[in-house]
Symmetry: C2
Subunit: 347 residues, 2 copies
Amino acid sequence: MNLCKGRSYMDQVNLKKLAKELNLAVSTVSRALRDSHEISSQTKERVRELALKLGFQPNPHASSLRQNKSKTIAVIIPEIENNFFSQVINGIESITPNKGYHVLIYLSHEDYNKERDILQLLGNGRVDGVMISFSNSTTNYEHVEAWQKAGIPLVFFDRTCDELDVPNVMTNDAEMAFKATEHLLKRGCKNIAFLGMAGSLSITNRRKVGYLQALEKFKVTNPPQIVELTSKDYSNREILRQLFEGPSRPDGIFAAIEKFAVNTYEVCKEMDLHIPQDVKVISFSNLQAAALFDPPLSTIIQPAYDIGREAASILFKLIEKKMLLPYEKKMILPSQLIERNSTAITG
Amino acid sequence: MNLCKGRSYMDQVNLKKLAKELNLAVSTVSRALRDSHEISSQTKERVRELALKLGFQPNPHASSLRQNKSKTIAVIIPEIENNFFSQVINGIESITPNKGYHVLIYLSHEDYNKERDILQLLGNGRVDGVMISFSNSTTNYEHVEAWQKAGIPLVFFDRTCDELDVPNVMTNDAEMAFKATEHLLKRGCKNIAFLGMAGSLSITNRRKVGYLQALEKFKVTNPPQIVELTSKDYSNREILRQLFEGPSRPDGIFAAIEKFAVNTYEVCKEMDLHIPQDVKVISFSNLQAAALFDPPLSTIIQPAYDIGREAASILFKLIEKKMLLPYEKKMILPSQLIERNSTAITG
DNA sequence: AAATTCTTTGCAAACGATTTCGAAAAATGT
DNA sequence: ACATTTTTCGAAATCGTTTGCAAAGAATTT
């Protein structure tokens, strides 16, 4: 039985302890540490000195409870074993420490139900704002609408949603998809397949639009081939095998997702199809090592770091109740197309 | 001026509101929701029903403050744009949601001072436990010792530290380094260079030991070549260029870090050195795409996901004040060596 | 000198959930 | 019918910080 009030860690230092030590009121100590104008500079100095000496740090939960702000944001992404999202997190983290903010990470694993549960879990003040990139199984946005009712700031990035009035940050997907397709056509492809993520992802849709527009603009006679893959390598390879064995074997592959380019390489290797002789490949990808592939992979590099940084900046503007500039409501950061040997012209 | 007590969001639902609505005491509602035995099942049912209807979620800061636990853990890693750490996070996340826990991510960017500051920042109850993989500039562990005084659970993973009595989870670095070096020797290399991270990382040391042991055991006459690289691609390439242009050009490269193998490939390509004819390469790496490199890269794959999962499990055991089994104090999960063409025998 | 400001500090009430303690009410035993 | 236990619930303290308000003293003005 604890007779004295002290807990097991006697060195737990809080405002009360500081106040007693200094013979001041708790409120005075609190104000001194927050550099309030209504405290004399001598008192402030005394307080700060002792606080430093005892290594005082305010209890974040007490502060959060009182001030109704958590100094924390959440990032919800579909997966993390993906260069793009890692770089986004890096970009986010380039902002948060300066703002005195902390970052919670949540993975939806491409599962709508998990995504909904996570969002719901964050409802009651655990975070001051959320950045989300949707899972591929997300087809409705009720969970987001429910969230919006709480009035907590929200920003979409990359896998966005146009239907809701929420700021979003992304790249020029359609434009780059157009350019990628155009690039393949100019390299002599006649029959280009588009590898997209199954589901109704915004990025897949935008990229698909660019692909189709290019086919149309350049009056390609072969019909478009839209192949839907998933996050499972095994089944992707099987689908690709069938694609290449099928009646209209593509001579060009435009992968909307890095992973699908990897799957394509794997299957081509296995089936002894040569890139770029038999089939040319280009892909959205943020892999540094793409240049080391056999053959080096032509890529569209997304400004992942910048997307994370800008999305975080916008979120903080919302949190600080600043007005957004018009372009910040829908920010588009351009990607870059890097031509490599996977789309080289062959004899 | 707010005359009524209500805040801007009238739908903010808390225990008090539930209690008033049900004509019960706050304490009763709280107990009912926590399924206390001292509440009748009818009352519980009434409470639960309304709570569900109004979408009640307890305020996490109030709970944390009262219970002195945050239901949050922190993961401190040197960088995130690295497959290994991404997979570790994935492994960690495979545990946390079931435990009702949240995950904060912090990046030290290979900077001791940042690492120290982060650890210090987490001191006052923001987290119930910490998992850390040290930065390469960390040469002393005073920040950890300071942390230990607070008595908050801690686990090291991968880049560990033997000097402190803290549970750690890692792979069999020395053994695999030995095998990698042995592998190169058996493939005919006479002059193997070791590419390690500058600084005093535990993994670099362990891997270096394995490398040296292999050279000794197989009585290699050429002296060991230990090359120290950093996280900066540009300077790494410059150092590697000098290495290959230098008097004792290596015919084998053992990269202790994935990034260094990529740098090696880049430089070899640039200098028109052929892998594996001119130089054979093997590396610790968790890149799925290693098989697609030109040539496919022989790798030592670390069980990154498992390391994350096990480290998190151990952390939770500490948090729950359970005893650790002996092997959990220093857990070693084996890596796997995959031979590919970068270490093939050449005519 | 009296009245007024300004400066500096303390008191006490929040914030929302948990928990100790105690008091009714109900159920049980004698 | 009375004593005892068990069940069920409410009041109030608590966690540590912030903040509105009051009050005391010093400084200024009239």
